[in-house]
Symmetry: C2
Subunit: 256 residues, 2 copies
């Protein structure tokens, strides 16, 4: 099977011009098939503030009303997505920026209201493998933003980490997939106060140990959950590292 | 040669939910290959006003500084483009929304400063025919917005009428192309005060006559110029009509 490298980058790279450039340079120099998924960073919040739309968060998750969905679509699918694609083209990496509606790439259903109404937030229901395969076969690199759709004309705000994990899982049937989450640190830290205490490998046992000792930071729990989801669905390797994971070998490898 | 239908829609359709739905329904029911190009409508101006960014126009053309380029990219490539694509998917028309950077679809060069500095405005220099052919061959309908790029990482604001004319001209080598401009009236009017005075056919002679008599409205002159450009480069037929040109046969046909 051909190899496929999937990367997810977040705000700490997107919001920093030099880190973004450095990451995209490394990414574009990878010769094998690859896909990039990006989150939104601080720009959606900044545009919301400028437009006077209140930002409502619950446990770090954005409550998405109609005005917020418009902002997310503008910032994620417009400004950030097209900035990344134009930079990749300048690096001779032929790419195409998409949201879930484009080519029906990733579909979701609106999260049902239980204790809390998240608004226009969608959970992934389907990945269009054939669409991704067509793009990759034509050497066009998909650059995916965190907006999906329900197939009935409704766009939905969707977690970028989950989109990455779902795309990686789905394409594991056709490729030998590795999935890399790039975030603000060089990996999962043993000691939150020591940036050099990167844990080289986390397996199931170590994961349970870290959880039990309360050593995993808040935001890292859903990330590790996504990693294990992907591994359990056939993704060969999952890594967590920083924007320069491709030039600097330090990172955390997650295994079953 | 296979047929290819190219449509350009502007603000008067994009800004009106029922007209947009009606147009997209007709468009999606066309069985042959097709491409949609869209302008921006009033939303970019509305977002600029809300963000407190002054809108500077010269003869109806937007002067595009950095802040305005960001807004245009957000509104055209984000909000409007993804709204159209999600609606087309709901109508079972598999489509993909792009700007010029995506797949290197259309490149431009920044307009040189002469009497006036238009800012980040680009004039088309290249259409990536092979990219459009790949999408059409895979039955994925391109939905193109009025943002292009220069290949060096710079996005540029580009006139949607011209993008439509340039794509139509370029693809005339491989397809039998017709190009339709949908705007606020049913066609070019003989008498500006009478909406029913649609001129059925304009040829070169009639065009000169209308120009000499001063019967062509301001905004119509560059539109007709684009039509003749396209015809001179091999486009088979150019039409000007309203949002319901596909269900209502009234329109103006432009011929050499």
């Amino acid at each position: 099977m051909d190899r496929l490298h999937i990367f997810k980058i977040g705000g700490n790279i997107i919001d920093n011009e030099s880190r973004l450039h450095s990451f995209l340079k490394d990414f574009s120099s990878l010769n094998e098939s690859k896909i990039l998924i990006h989150g939104g960073g601080k720009e959606a919040t900044s545009v919301s503030n400028k437009l006077g739309i209140p930002v409502k968060l619950n446990n770090g998750r954005r409550i998405t009303d109609t005005a917020t969905l418009d902002i997310i679509t503008m910032v994620y699918a417009g400004k950030i997505n097209k900035r990344i694609v134009s930079k990749l083209q300048a690096l001779s990496c032929d790419s195409i920026g998409i949201c879930g509606a484009d080519g029906n790439a990733y579909m979701s259903s609106k999260r049902t209201v239980e204790e809390l109404d998240f608004g226009f937030v969608g959970d992934i229901t389907h990945i269009n493998k054939s669409f991704f395969k067509k793009l990759l076969k034509n050497n066009i690199i998909p650059v995916c933003c965190a907006v999906s759709h329900d197939g009935n004309g409704q766009l939905l705000n969707t977690n970028a980490d989950t989109i990455a994990s779902e795309i990686a899982s789905a394409l594991s049937e056709n490729f030998e997939v590795d999935l890399t989450y790039c975030f603000e640190k060089k990996g999962v830290l043993e000691n939150i106060g020591d940036l050099n205490s990167v844990i080289p490998i986390i397996n199931n046992e170590k994961y349970e140990e870290l959880k039990n000792k309360g050593l995993i930071q808040e935001g890292m729990l859903p990330k590790l959950h996504n990693c294990y989801q992907a591994l359990s669905k056939g993704v060969k390797e999952v890594r967590i590292g920083s924007f320069n994971i491709l030039s600097d070998n330090k990172h955390t490898k997650i295994v079953l």
